[in-house]
Symmetry: C2
Subunit: 248 residues, 2 copies
C-alpha cells in the first residue's frame, strides 16, 4: 500500500529560506515520523521562491515581439518577455497560448513562468536546475531525518490531446524517474513490449491529489513506493527532440 | 491522506466474466472493507477481456497498406490492420510508430491495440465505450458494497515530449474527471489562472504505482480522495481537435 500524506503548516516561502529546515521544523512540530524510502514531493513554486527565481516585473523591458504579441492577445507584455527569455525554442505561439521548450528541455505552456500565487508585479520562474535543487534538498532532509529519502520537485503541466493539467516531475533525486520493464515477461510468459513507466511523473500526480491548487499544501510525503529500478533524475524524462514526433 | 491499496488475487479474466462479482469475491475472501467514496481503478485490459474485445489474429486479413507498412517496420501486419481499423485518424505513422486518434477520440500509440498479456494470436482492443463500462461496473460494485463508489478504467499511454508511459483514465464514473479551480483565489487573493486539474488521470497514475506492469494487479482501490467538483466522465478529458494545437 502507498500513502499520500499532505504536510500542512509550512510558512509562506521567501527568497533565501532554507526549505529543508522549514519542512523539518514543520514535521517535528506535528510529531510526524519520517521513514526509510519516504518520497517528498515539493511544489516547484516554493523551491523557486526560496532560490530567488522571482522576476520583478518593473525591471522587465519587453521586446517588440513580446509587446506586439501581448497586445494582440491581451496579455502582460512583461510576462511574455519573460516567457520568451526562458524559452530555448517555441513550439506553438498562437491563440494567446505559448508552448515552448524551456532552457532545461521541458515542453510546457509559458516556459513555466507563473504570475499566480506571488506578490503583485512579480512572476516566478522555474528553478535553474531542478535536478540539482532536488539533490540538495535530498541531502539536507536525509541529514535531518537520518534515513534515505527521495525528492521530487513538481509542477502542473498541460498535455497535448488531453484536457486539464497533471502534476509532473521537474526535479528528481534518490528515486527512479523511469522504470524499464523491457525484457521482463508478462503473466503468459510473453516479453513485455516497449514498457517504460514514468514513475516520477506518476508519483508527482499522486501527490497533487492532496495538494489542492488553492489550498497551499506545497509539500507531500509519498510513503510505501517500492522499485528495484536504479535512481535517476528528471532529465531522464525529457524526450530528445530528435526522437520526438511532435516537435515540428 | 490518500491510500492506494492493491487488490491482488483476481483470476485470469475470460470473455463473459463478471468482473464486479470477481472483485467482490476477491475482497470478501480478503475480508477487505470497502468504504464510502472508495475509487476502484481497473486496468483496461481486464475490462476489454471480459467484454470480449479480443481479436483473433487468424481472422484478420491485412489490407495492402497494413501489409506494406508492417513489412517496412518488421511488424505483424494483422496487428497493424487492427490498429488502422481502430483509428479514426492518424497523427503520425513513421519510424515504426503509429500515433492515432481512436474511435473514442483518445490519441495514443497503436490505437490502444495490445498483443502483450494475452494468448498467442490474439490482441486486446480498447472497450467500445469505456465510460459506459465504468458506469456499469460502478452500479454493480455499489450494489455489492452498499456505498457510493467511483470507477476509473485505466491504460498506460505515452506522451508527447516526455519519456515513459503514465496511466490515464479511459473510463470514469462516479467521480470528477476534471477539477476546475478557475474563479477561485490563491493564497494572495489573486484569481487562479486557467487551472483545471485532470484528477482522474492523476488518480489513474497514482494507482499504477502499485499495479506493477509484470505483477498483474489489475485492480487498485484509491481511498480518501475528496473533491467538491461534480462527477464527470473520461470523455471530458478528450481535447476537441479544433482546440488542440498538436493535431496537425
Amino acid at each position: 500500500m502507498i500513502q499520500i500524506i499532505p504536510v500542512p503548516g509550512l510558512p509562506e516561502i521567501q527568497p533565501g529560506d532554507d526549505i529543508a529546515s522549514l519542512i523539518t521544523k514543520c514535521l517535528h512540530d506535528q510529531t510526524c515520523t519520517i521513514i526509510h524510502g519516504d518520497i517528498f514531493v515539493i511544489a516547484q513554486k516554493i523551491v523557486s521562491k526560496a532560490e530567488g527565481r522571482i522576476a520583478d516585473l518593473h525591471e522587465v523591458i519587453p521586446s517588440r515581439r513580446a509587446t506586439e504579441w501581448a497586445a494582440d492577445w491581451n496579455k502582460d507584455p512583461r510576462i511574455i518577455e519573460l516567457v520568451l527569455r526562458e524559452s530555448k525554442s517555441i513550439l506553438r505561439m498562437e491563440r494567446g497560448i505559448i508552448i515552448s521548450e524551456t532552457q532545461h528541455g521541458f515542453v510546457c505552456a509559458n516556459a513555466g513562468v507563473d504570475a499566480s500565487n506571488t506578490a503583485e508585479n512579480a512572476a516566478v520562474l522555474l528553478p535553474e536546475d531542478p535536478d540539482e535543487s532536488a539533490r540538495a534538498l535530498q541531502l539536507k532532509l536525509q541529514e535531518s531525518f537520518a534515513v534515505p529519502l527521495g525528492i521530487i520537485i513538481s509542477d502542473t503541466f498541460g498535455r497535448a490531446w488531453r484536457e486539464g493539467l497533471v502534476n509532473v516531475a521537474l526535479g528528481v533525486s534518490g528515486l527512479p524517474a523511469l522504470i524499464d520493464y523491457r525484457g521482463q515477461r508478462d503473466g503468459e510468459g510473453k516479453l513485455l513490449n516497449a514498457t517504460v513507466i514514468a514513475c516520477a511523473d506518476e508519483l508527482a500526480s499522486a501527490a497533487e491529489l492532496v495538494m489542492g491548487k488553492a489550498d497551499r499544501v506545497p509539500v507531500v510525503i509519498v510513503r510505501g513506493f517500492r522499485s528495484d529500478a536504479p535512481p535517476g533524475n528528471a532529465h531522464d524524462l525529457i524526450r530528445p527532440a530528435e526522437r520526438d514526433l511532435f516537435r515540428s
